[in-house]
Subunit: 347 residues, 2 copies
């Protein structure tokens, strides 16, 4: 899944270059790092990217030579994860037949690829053997209030039974979850047989299921694009977590610790780059004087900080952003302001 808008990395992220197409690590764009990780368990021709029409051209360019261009699925509109996964499931089952499908966001960071591969293989095996919906959980490393949690039944072995999905908790609750030993973060990574998830849609999201079934008739024909647009004009905006996972029983989770981070906003750039001695994370040409614990991302110019702390400063070819680290989430407010001002050039 690579269709996010990623406004929280503005001014680097834009409509046509969302977060998953950014090279925040200095190594490669995030979607290519995700593809490389998946290539450990399958061939490139088995990797599909779900994006949207606005981004599909830049996506195709980014992954050129790595995965076949026909494996890029472009949603005509944003209708949340249930629609996206349903669309992909129908495409895959029609074109490739039934099988296990792994769904992963393309814009998360994973430090330990080996550990990730192990968890993934375990989840794929469980999905294959049990026919159940499997999700991948992240062993929490701090009392995060920004993620949903999954509570599981303690047991031996790497695969656990899910007891419940839990909403983003307040801090005190998050601390309890962290200490509990039976809560993991909901990573948004799912593993299941295509037929299994479609069966769940049939029961839990019947309207979406029926629309998908109608669309399915057109897949592989010259009416597919029209049918796709019709589909997205009709279906509801709902997440697979809310629409399926939270309402299902008998879900499995494979907890893992592989240095995962969603790198949700600029303040988290320290996940990808070690800070220097004063706690500053500096990517590019930074000159820091009496400044501590800042995030500096300088694309072309020199960025000089004098006597400031805990700021995010981002320089890109047409815009500069300055905000406090603890308000990094509010960067989308700048994007909203630019939208309201009609500054399409900066979106």
């Amino acid at each position: 899944m690579a269709g996010g808008g990623g406004t929280r990395f503005w001014p680097l992220s834009r409509i046509h270059t969302p977060k998953q197409l950014l090279n925040l690590s200095g190594k490669d764009v995030m979607v290519n790092e995700a593809v490389a990780r998946l290539c450990r368990i399958t061939a490139p021709e088995n990797i599909y990217i779900a994006t949207n029409t606005a981004q599909s051209a830049s996506m195709e360019k980014a992954v050129k030579g790595r995965i076949p261009p026909e494996n890029i699925l472009a949603e005509p509109a944003a209708r949340n994860t249930a629609a996206c996964i349903g669309y992909a499931a129908v495409e895959l089952i029609k074109k490739r037949g039934d099988g296990v499908m792994v769904i992963t966001p393309s814009d998360a960071y994973i430090r330990d690829d080996d550990a990730f591969e192990q968890v993934l293989r375990t989840a794929v095996k469980a999905a294959e053997e049990t026919g159940k919906l499997v999700t991948i959980g992240i062993d929490p490393t701090f009392p995060a209030t920004g993620y949903g949690y999954i509570r599981f039944k303690k047991s031996d072995g790497p695969v656990k039974e899910v007891l419940e999905f839990v909403e983003k908790p307040p801090l005190e609750r998050a601390k309890e979850y962290l200490a509990s030993g039976d809560h993991v973060w909901n990573s948004g990574m799912f593993v299941w047989k295509i037929s299994a998830i479609l069966e769940h849609y049939k029961t839990l999201l019947p309207d979406l299921y029926n629309n998908l079934a109608e669309f399915s008739e057109a897949v592989g024909t010259d009416k597919e694009q029209d049918a796709l647009e019709k589909l997205y004009g009709r279906i509801e905006d709902i997440s697979v977590d809310y629409g399926v996972m939270e309402k299902s029983y008998d879900i499995l989770v494979v907890p893992g610790e592989f240095g995962w981070s969603d790198v949700g906003s600029w303040d988290m750039l320290g996940v990808l780059h070690d800070p220097e001695e004063n706690g500053n994370v500096v990517v590019g040409d930074g000159v820091l004087v009496e400044s501590k614990n800042n995030i500096v991302f300088a694309k072309d110019k020199t960025v000089a900080l004098v006597g400031v702390s805990d700021l995010v400063v981002v320089e890109t070819p047409d815009a500069v952003l300055v905000c406090p680290k603890d308000k990094a989430q509010d960067v989308k407010k700048a994007v909203d302001a630019l939208k309201a001002m009609g500054r399409e050039d900066l979106l």
Copy 2:
């Protein structure tokens, strides 16, 4: 006088484009605004600019068509105001004969040109009629701790007798000066007959005087440049305030209120541009969200602030600066750091 380095306006000010060559007001570069003010009392061919060899080319370009290029005096080294004024005095008396010379920094802002003209005419008249050294004082508008003060004898009429020059005071003292009615800021603007200042040099700065006398022989000959370099290799670094004004008796001051500001650093940009409703001073393309009392100077790009207060953010073609307003003086530390790093490209 236009030889300052102006590091406190980095990254806009550089070795070859010091503060006096910046257009901070959005109208014209500061030196041209100074020239325009002086043109109210004299012809352009009577205006001389003292700069240094590193800046003379950019200076010539900046004032092209406004004053004759031969009126640009380039000091081979920075030796403070006594040397600069002495050099100019010798040039002028040799080439133009004796007369009243007005000395003004080129990098101060004056809001009320009419009031300034009146004060200047009064000072010129006083210098002409009395033969005394005359200085222009600024009626203080706040208890400034960053300026020297001049205490004068209260009297009728626009021209006062100076009682003493006072060093930059602590805040409590500055408040007393502000309330006193007989203290003005030392503006660094002087008016006197050339012969009068040279007489004072003879008594108070005899070594400088003798060196100037030797240099004087070469003025107007093909040995002038060599003699000038020899002069600057020998003479001491001393200000005219310390070397002459503070040690003299019988000095006059013309107090004035003409909206003067030395615009000494980025935090003072509000003198030149009215703040918007949230107290932000924005020059260029700024997008401000939940941000108050900042200074934004954006040359080419959009500068977006989200949730920050009391910052200076400056964007130029090759560098971005972020610092708190109350540390705007420390910008020179960034320049020092760049020097130490050998980053000549940014100096």
